[in-house]
Symmetry: D2
Subunit: 406 residues, 4 copies
């Protein structure tokens, strides 16, 4: 029998950019007794989470909650709005943008992949002007949708979605705007309605602090209208039946009840702390992390300071250093998991997750583990990133974080 408590004494530090550590509050909520998904209690649960999740997406329109992980919500966004052979414009920001494009191909769409050349495109966000230019060329409006990733989990670059919206509008183009914020939601500011997004895709295991297993499509009226004519086959992912059932707090098929308990608790935690406070905390942690990377004399993977991610930070290794060997040393010696580099970046960087249920001291532990591990791995450091991060965090010491006991 395989023993599943793998970790030695002391807490494991899961500092990958998701799944993020699940807080005890959420684990406890997930252990509430499973109930009849057609019974009266379930409706109360369903209505609560359906209302709360809208606040997180900042939308007044329906949000679909799927009992499936995030990759499924990508598929749902495409199959509900598009038809076989449709031309879609996608932007290469990293590994996950690439995977989404690959999925579009698998589903029989014709994605066109815009982007900056080489790895440069992986170190900067979406270039809205390129999208605008391309759409202007498409005078026949063959392009049915523009697909972009809000927060690239593979790199630590956050794109400016409002700018993409402005680009589409400037081009006077009717394409739908589909956005993946799987790793951004609940950690980075996101505004579905204000930014004019048609479908936003997200998942549970990042800023929402849940285990993987539920995912989301936030919709616009325009997206719902498009779904009535879209001809890609769909059943499990179909919006119409779900929207109808959701009116009373139910689902047309068995929902993931225990993860919805967790979602309910996550909503209480996030809205209790305050969405803007949550974003500010992530910005504080991300800034301290970047100060650490700079003090080490290492390079931040994201090359454009305007789009640094508040969710994760990619740390470039000097030439000749195998990032995965550093990660392995840190894992074995300090019981901390860091994110592996993916795709074009493989072996050249590691990713530090500072999302979800992270706070100042957990971040300091993380950065200390990195600093000790880098030194033990023989990576020459310019100075102490830990010291720099402490200075950064202490500079935000104007107000206490702890709620007074009632």
């Amino acid at each position: 029998m395989v023993h599943l408590d793998f970790h030695p004494s002391g807490r494991h530090f899961l500092q990958i950019p998701g799944p993020s550590p699940v807080p005890d509050r959420i684990l406890r909520a997930m252990s509430y007794p499973t109930i009849d998904h057609r019974g009266p209690e379930f409706g109360a649960l369903g209505r609560k989470v359906l209302a709360g999740i809208k606040e997180i997406f900042k939308t007044r329109h329906p949000v679909i909650i799927y009992p499936a992980s995030g990759t499924g919500a990508w598929e749902a966004a495409l199959t509900n709005t598009l038809s076989p052979g449709d031309h879609v414009l996608m932007f290469e920001t990293g590994h996950f943008a690439t995977l989404w494009k690959k999925m579009a191909e698998a589903l029989g769409l014709r994605p066109e992949f815009l982007g900056l050349p080489g790895i440069e495109g992986w170190r900067r966000g979406v270039q809205a002007d390129m999208i605008e230019a391309r759409l202007r060329e498409d005078s026949g409006h063959a392009i049915r949708a523009v697909c972009v990733v809000h927060n690239e989990t593979s790199t630590g670059v956050t794109s400016d979605i409002a700018a993409v919206r402005r680009a589409i509008d400037a081009a006077g183009h009717p394409a739908l705007l589909l956005v993946d914020t799987i790793s951004g939601l609940g950690s980075a500011d996101y505004r579905h309605d204000e930014w004019g997004v048609d479908v936003t895709v997200s998942g549970s295991q990042k800023g929402l602090m849940l285990p993987p297993g539920i995912s989301f499509n936030a919709l616009s009226p325009k997206a719902i209208a498009a779904s009535q004519h879209a001809r890609l086959p769909r059943a499990f992912w179909g919006w119409a039946e779900i929207i109808e059932s959701n009116k009373n707090g139910y689902w047309p098929y068995t929902p993931n009840t225990n993860l919805l308990y967790g979602l309910s608790e996550a909503l209480d935690m996030i809205l209790g702390e305050g969405l803007e406070q949550v974003f500010a905390r992530h910005q504080r942690l991300a800034e301290a992390t970047r100060q650490a990377v700079r003090a080490w004399g290492l390079e931040i993977q994201c090359a454009d300071p305007a789009v640094y991610s508040p969710v994760l930070t990619g740390v470039m290794m000097p030439d000749g250093v195998d990032a995965d060997a550093v990660r392995k040393l840190i894992y074995e010696r300090f019981d901390m998991s860091l994110g592996q580099a993916l795709g074009k970046m493989r072996g050249r960087m590691f990713r530090i997750g500072h999302l979800g249920d992270c706070n100042d001291l957990t971040l300091m532990a993380t950065l200390a583990g990195c600093e000790m591990g880098l030194k033990l791995a023989g990576v020459p450091l310019a100075g102490s990133g830990v010291t720099a991060a402490m200075a950064s965090l202490a500079a935000h010491a104007d107000k206490p974080v702890l709620k007074a006991a009632a």
Copy 2:
């Protein structure tokens, strides 16, 4: 804020035919810390559950585990093996067979729905001879797949899958055999390889005693071969990439780690008790339930004793009695949830689940709740079902159920 502990003092009895009550052992396992799904520990977990689940399906071939609920696994079975417009033969055994057919239509297939007329078809299992006759007519082999439900959750009828296999073979027909045993797996005997099934669909929230959220496709080599030519679009559900990743215990996208912890524990529980012992327990509980129904003078929904379900029992109400009113009374007065009748049976019966983590005394509580509720609802009863069930259970008292403490 909605309070999610809905139940008053004492344990809620969740006696619907799934989701079944999640044992504390599994809830505890689901609270293990989430780990890096690309790290070395995860591989050990993945390899364990992938090996164990094969024992449950009684197969030597790959079993796909999806981070999605059971309805998704239906879609996966169809999209991986079939092409747009394909003719499939489905058999109407009840509400879930009907929903699967509806899904086939939504996906662009052309399902043909065989079945006995009226509600008669919902009270008997698959008629293998009808399938054989239909296949013999199809000399051109236009029919690409035969789809049947092993255990109809909506009625309490279990079909003879081996007979369906023999029917296909007798007709000399190359159609694939796709079987849904979402509610049967782990409670009713099931033999993927021996019965020659090509794709078996199942889920987590029934005999496996997990919350909803993961689901399965067990494959045959013939199904895998078919998937290489099937042209229905698919990405999330695609087998090929998953089979490849699974070789080392990983998945191509984020798996539902905490539910896999639960699955690991469920496998330990089921294989520890012994699969045949688990089946015998379900048979014992189902037989006692039927004795109770007969003693009450009520009718068992399943009209064919050869195919009584060991998972659930449908109880027909006398004319003029609204089954849902009885259920509501029992729910409010005794804090027990029974299964609502679905589709053609609506209002005419209720369903008693006796699956998963159920034992003799839990069943007795359930039957006592039914008996008291029926009386309070004014349903005339011929005698005490509870007394009959006790006699039935006591007759199996030849050996103790409790393992001696080591």
Copy 3:
């Protein structure tokens, strides 16, 4: 390594008269993170439970919460109020009264044990008239305290404490009244102030539904005054320091934080259901149990209907039947634990606990397990107790128990 999940599939039925089954809500609360017992948060917890527990005892005076199990609270009641060699009057109601007397002797007191002869005294409650007569004889007031057990866990007899108070008053005697309601509190009505009790002793693992590990002394001003002159040595059990610390919600030494979390949740559950509703539920369950015993043609251990316990019911075996053999059969065959007979009753009866987190259907499961086990053990039964219990419970069906979902 010993595996601690002893139970086979399905829920174990722990139907001893305590420890009672701990509800999941309380187990979850007990898993809140341990906090600094001198920090600000702890004070909020301490003040909450200290206020709430007074409502349970129905007192306005201090209640001491010890981080120790119930036997310790017996000792505390004696050592805080008495001096070496003190004469105390105790009443033999059963095994626990006998153990308390034995403890008094071990502590250097001189207990006098009143009681009815033979096992008769174990089948009836405290005889207040015997106490009154004895106190009248004690014109010199040598007797310092009267000690009685409110609910005898070993038999299922509940004594009339108000009558004891009246007896003491009628005798014009200044003795303190010390009462053990370890198994009664939270299940049987109890009124510390109204009944004029000086020290009430209780514990966590019965009506409060917690694991063993905390216990209580509810005090009267007269008891507190007595403690200032009592000369039995004491430190851990000393009231004075605890009362002083408790004023701010703290303890003079490390409290059992996680059990206090559990207590906080138990208070929410009990006071949420309503104390009188909790008592009525226990009366309903106890009455149904007695109807079952009578229908079986067996004898209820408590010989005086006026003092039947709402907490547990002792069931006498016919001559020649070994009650422990019946219990063992039920344990091994139906995975249910019943209470062993203790002391003078050993082997002649078993005890059914129906306290704490018990409801109608759990009781029905319990009685069905008893009935099947008795039959399998060859005990001749006059009729079906289960049928009788159902009739009894159904007769209380005037109102629903389930709170409507908000």
Copy 4:
């Protein structure tokens, strides 16, 4: 209703010297279902923990497990071995030694308190030569016991118990040796048999990583013999009945079942890691902490490097700095609890706990929180303690801590 989840987003750092953070593994074990404490399963649990705890104390003799917190085990050690008015020699090492002496007085003993003058005695360990000299004076052997604290939780000084044993032997004195290692056990090396200790007192909420609520007396044959003649009244604490019941794995009164589940898991964790590895880990963490304190230019409270505690480190504040104000700032700003100074040290220091389930990165978080907090509080620091601690920890990087996944 008081909300008990006091903490904001992210993990609370409980870095007081006990209660120490309870690992999730232990919380999960504590949620196993409560069982009949007289049933067969309980014996298996009892025998396991009674055998395992002997390994932790390094003894072949009985270890008593009380369902009470540590202060009770102090009382048990005294009342089982001594008689009213007995002369006992106690040594002032800090606040807890002082409280134990106060308890001895309350119980009617005559403690004599040896010690170095002023706060000096609180900054050094037990002076064995003073004990030897005092015992030599006691030619009439009026002194019945020598009582010392192994690890002073109030200061961070660990005394040399073997030296005390040698002192007693050198004086040829028959006094019993009673030792408190409440905060040392399971974190600092301790050898009950080898060091010739007669009664060792300990508790659950420190190195054993459990919540408070169980405590221990490890005995010697000489202590057991003494208990047969000791005349202090005792009942709950009495060893004889417990030793007798323990032979089969049971207790004479209700044990704290759920905390015993936790103890069972703690034993698996500690003995699985290896007792010597656990001690080495604590030494590594303590040394890194001291390097931090020195780098800050602050003074370690323990003035004798030979007896630095591996459990906690006291950090002296410069004159004029209120240690409690620093603690409060750190608590409110960084959600970390540090230990308050007690008794003679009040306000002059804080205590950092690095015991139990602590590892390198948790310690780094702790030290970073201290460093940032000290700076924000305006305490002038000579340098970065965090940097010094990282250097210290990295120097122990010769082998990985993580067990390979099986």
